[in-house]
Amino acid sequence: MIGKFAFWPDQASSVALEVDLLYIFIIVVTVATSLAVYGAIAIFTIKYKRRSEDEIPEQIEGNLPLEIAWSIIPLGIVLVMFAWGIKLFYDLSRAPDEAMNFNVVGKQWMWKVQHPTGKREINELHVPLGQPIKLTITSEDVLHSFFIPAFRTKMDAVPGRYTISWFEPTKPGEYHIFCAEYCGTEHSHMIGRVVVMDPAHYEQWLKTGSANAVVSNETPEVAGARLFQEQRCNTCHMTNGLMAPMLAGVFGSQVTLQGGEIITADENYLRESIVNPQAKIVNGYQPNMPTFQGQVSEDALLQLLAYIKSLSKSEAGAPGAAAAASSVVGTSEAQAATTDNQPAPPEHAAPSTGDPPAVVPESQPRPTEQPAPAAGDQH
């Protein structure tokens, strides 16, 4: 809780307890081992104190069984730590399907948050208790990192790409948000608070707002639709798909590029297609799309993204589609029915240690989770 002194951070999310358990497990193991070593040192130092100046002790070479034992046993113990650690990490990186998506944009030196309903906040994040929340995070300038100690979550905000973090708040209260990647002069002032409220209060708050938040009727999808018109995207991305690829249902689909490579159209691909369209040209099209780098802000990009995601196959890119989506709260990715932050599927990207910025590091999973291509009205 903000302002309260404690020796232990609050456990305010669904994973916090398990993270703490792993922490305590490692503490116990390492304290025990350390005390054993310290004890041995103390005992030996006292017991084998040199008794006379000419004393020469027995010269012991070593002991192979002992070496093997104290190699294998620690190895086994650390492998347990490893396994538990990766299990936790995997959980931390997979948002549940029902997670609400919040957009978080970091810039020197503030955090801008947008709720699914369109409501915005600066340096604050109001969330409903018990609801999984997914954060789509990026930066407008330098590296930042969105850190909520009470939730045990952290993810860097990287300029030029989206990263994902998620949590499910389990305890009402106010908790620190810290920027955890040094970002310049006011790095330590790039802090805020997350306010966990029970769901009814959250709904209430959404409508009325607080001093720090802007009340807005425009969901990201609606704002994106508006931008789509304003930026003239619709002039090329029309229904017939002649001049530019169709956008209906594109999110999450498999796209064939010039040269034959097939990629999955995830958030990072869509973002890149707007700011650096020449990086990946869809097969059969000319590289005619101009870049919108510098013309649309990161917030606007996230809204365009929300709009494009909301386009189902039947709506074929028509601008009116988003109006139907305006009442949607938190299920705008339902059509994707995916968790956006899964690790790269094996048939995909080269297993390089540094993933290309254009494809989200945790990209879309198997095609079986694609939206059904029926001409339905999925949202």
Partner: protein, 245 residues
């Protein structure tokens, strides 16, 4: 700074053994005051082993140095294949190919120089070293021509870069790697040219023979390494996307 005045009161003072050598059996009178062995070494064998290992270790380090650049190049080529092709097309293959031939020829002359030294052929040694130097300078001259052309075409990343079309940023990255990689390589060539010069002078003075040719051989290793780096640079920078024509 020599330690000539270290006195060893307890050592038998063998008038045929200079101070820095001890009187162990392997130090024979033959090696007495061997002008080709530095003071810290016991004998020529040890000295040769040491400089050879030293040069190979140094080249290992160089592999990692250029390796960092090659890694960056690989990453960006995978991100922006078209831009890399476009940038590569603008390089003049003729100059690159000429430089490749020049360097390979210079490695040949260098190897022949080492061979000449090993066989105590002084004039041939000097000749081949001069040829190597000449070819190295040709290489650098060609690079000047190429760099100047880039300057005239406004293709100097960051400083003066103009590229029509939407690929501009990515092509600038290509050219950044082009200049840093070829620039680093050219720097190593310049160092090579600078080091070969005193080598030629010493060769002219007859300092190298089958008894002592390690500096020529070690320099040869360095020169071959610089050549090999270029062998990688040439296709990666100049020959991209040719099949697509």
């Amino acid at each position: 700074m020599s330690e000539a005045h270290v006195s060893t009161a307890t050592a038998h003072h063998d008038p045929f053994v200079a101070h820095q050598f001890d009187d162990q059996p392997q130090q024979t009178a033959d090696t007495h005051h061997d002008p080709f062995v530095a003071h810290q070494f016991d004998d020529r064998v040890q000295q040769k082993d040491a400089v050879t290992l030293g040069m190979w270790a140094f080249l290992g380090q160089e592999v990692l140095f250029f390796g960092g650049l090659f890694t960056g190049y690989t990453v960006y080529r995978s991100y922006y294949p078209e831009a890399f092709v476009a940038g590569s097309h603008h390089l003049v293959i003729f100059w690159g190919a000429l430089n490749t031939a020049v360097l390979i020829a210079s490695s040949l002359t260098m190897a022949l120089a080492v061979n000449a030294a090993q066989n105590s052929k002084r004039s041939r040694l000097v000749g081949y070293l001069l040829a190597t130097l000449f070819l190295g300078c040709v290489f650098l001259g060609v690079k000047v021509i190429e760099y100047k052309a880039k300057f005239d075409d406004h293709l100097i990343p960051g400083y003066d870069f103009h590229w029509d079309g939407p690929l501009a940023n990515s092509v600038q990255i290509f050219y950044s790697f082009y200049f840093v990689m070829t620039g680093m390589h050219a720097l190593h060539m310049i160092i090579g040219v600078a080091v070969i010069t005193p080598l030629i002078i010493r060769a002219w003075w007859g300092r190298f023979s089958q008894d002592y040719y390690a500096p020529v051989e070690m320099f040869g290793l360095y020169w071959h390494f610089v050549d090999i780096v270029w062998i990688f640079l040439f296709p990666l920078l100049y020959l991209l996307g040719l099949h697509a024509h």
